[in-house]
Amino acid sequence: MYIYDEIDQQLVEQRVAQFKDQTARFLTGKLSEEEFRVLRLQNGLYIQRHAPMLRVAIPYGMLVSKQLRMLAYVARRWDKGYGHFSTRQNIQFNWPRLEDVPEILAKLATVQMHAIQTSGNCIRNTTTDHFAGLAPDEIINPLVWCEIIRQWSMLHPEFAFLPRKFKIAVSGALTDRAAVGVHDIGLQAVKVDGVLGFRVWVGGGLGRTPIVGKLIKPFVAWSDLLTYLQATLRVYNLHGRRDNKYKARIKILVKDLTPEVFGQQVDEQWQLIKDGPDKVSEEYVNEVSSRFVWPKYDTTLIENDDSITLQAAGNLKFERWLRTNVHDHKVTGYASVTVSLKATGVPPGDITADQMEAIADISEKYGFGELRVSHEQNLILADVRRQSLYSLWLELDILKLATPNIGYITNIIACPGGDYCSLANAVSIPVAAAIQERFDDLDFVYEIGELDLNLSGCINSCGHHHVGHIGILGVDKAGEEWYQITIGGRQNGGVNIDTNQTQIRGGGAAIGRVIGPSFAREQIPDVIYCLIQTYLRLRDSDAERFIDVVERLGIGPFKEDVYSDPILLKAPLNTEVVDV
């Protein structure tokens, strides 16, 4: 992990002190509610349905065991004994009291954690691939670049009051697992003539107006990264719309100006600052890189899975887990392992304090105490020796953290929904549970193959339903909960690193299309089942995934089957399609 130097630590502590003062001024009436609102949001504090909600940053999803133990401590002492991993590599606590928040933040600061810029109209936590630093297909290790962006964006004096929130994602691998196409800025590492740089997509995003980002700059050399970001943010800060919050994201500016004109304006600004003080030097990159403690891998390990194969032969549960939750690692003899937070009946992404502590112990016992948080709301054990996989599985299984569904339909990505969130129009957790129950036969789940199912309780799209192969959106109609279904969305499509192919957009991300009128909550599992039946009937082989069939045949056949099913015809609601 990255180890704070004095400056890093001082800044976090000074922000804690500032926030403590702001909270005290608010509580004594010296700061109005309206003034305090934005200041607390910039420190991750929302006022929610039941109590304040505190969102703690896990910068670029990297977490170590002692931090996880601290999160467990916070969950027990100030929350109800659990936390919720969001889709942006953050963790949320739903029950802290406002008066306690400064103390929570002070505790977090002792393990190099904070809540800075986890909300508000500022540059948010930069996200990346959940296999960052581990994946065999990396062009660069994005962690170093994410840290450079973290430093640059943290407490940025010019960009603290943007028209709207601003999210940056970085992918360092051939396969884009960071969903760069659906972020305000998506950075895809590329090498051109041996020089490392980034391909820059701007204006992607989900929410009310889902748009795939536009390729604004095919190549920005590594040394120019921060000044290019600065120029982009400056153009947005000056010209982004502030009259209508629904049109304030950078995607609207890019669209209104056209990507070409937007790109020109950024370039004009960039030319003026590109050789200024924020140009990235090799020395600085080395300095940041040297502050990471990288695992000391045993390089004598060889790839020998014989014993694992033997253990798996007699154990179907283990065999299934190996297949779905164990991932290739760049170092021979190691694997990355997904700890599933998607057991049926548990809100997706929820984790208890006991589980946090157990996982912290496990991460030290089987690896180097390093973890990643995925935007799919699971945890990743970073560096597990392959020869220990069986005993690891035994431990995880007892903890109910070994659900073998990663990449499959029941690995549902969902926001907390109307049970917790005051923005939501509809609940999401019970819907996710109902789907998981409907698909409780694992053989059938594997038969369906790779499938992303995403669920959002409202158009703010925290469950990223637009990029789900199947997406479910909760909508409100006359005070009732209804659910709209989209299919054909995806967060990536693999990346061609030939920079001449400027037609590639957003690493292949696509926005799902609405199949038709919305459904009642209890109909949803049957609707999903029907979509799956259509897929299974139409696929040309096991290798053709659900998303591939939608792409090949369009939404027509799916729509036809769903809306001609007499059971589903009961009472579909004719809602207008919301802004797709």
């Binding site: 430093q151 407490l155 003080p277």
Partner: protein
């Protein structure tokens, strides 16, 4: 309390003696001290400014375009006859003024006093100072003494191209 000085300038609190000339007029106010005029008014009259004994201050709206400051073909602001430039924050959440200040400081050659007016909070002064503002009219209800202390809220920073907040702009001090 409301009568105590609210203007932070040269690292100290002082009374704000400036008054805004009728914003509907593009004619200049009388040749007296402490008149602030709108950017539009200044643009119309900038050629005749040098004839005044008392220079004016310019009030710039948040939405101003940096190009408004320069006649075509000129690359930096003619500082003559301008006491200071004030950027208005209609609402502290409107961050355009931060970028505008940076452009004035780093691209338009404005070295003179740059004042933040309007919705200026204890909590925004630190960022404002780093973006190039060096005087601040603290909004009513915010303790100006606390605002003064906010220069030290953060003693270290990441962004290299934005200086540490300084209470005293060295280019002004040399004028004393």
């Amino acid at each position: 309390m409301s009568n105590s000085p609210r203007l932070i300038r040269h690292g100290e609190l002082e009374d704000d003696l400036w008054r805004l000339h009728d914003i509907t007029l593009t004619t200049l106010p009388p040749d007296e001290a402490y008149w602030m005029v709108t950017l539009d008014c200044w643009k119309v009259n900038q050629d005749s400014m040098s004839q005044r004994i008392h220079s004016v201050a310019i009030l710039v709206p948040a939405h101003a375009d940096s190009k408004d400051f320069l006649p075509i073909g000129v690359s930096s602001i003619n500082a003559l006859a301008i006491t200071f430039i004030a950027i208005d924050f209609p609402n502290y959440k409107d961050g355009r003024g931060f970028s505008l200040a940076q452009i004035l400081r780093t691209q338009l050659g404005w070295l003179g006093e740059l004042r933040a007016v309007g919705d200026v909070l204890i909590d925004t002064i630190h960022y404002l100072a780093r973006c190039g503002f060096d005087s601040f009219l603290v909004k009513e209800g915010h303790d100006p003494e606390l605002a003064l202390k906010s220069f030290e809220t953060f003693t270290v920073h990441y962004q290299k191209s934005y200086p540490k907040p300084v209470k005293i702009n060295s280019s002004q001090v040399s004028d004393f």
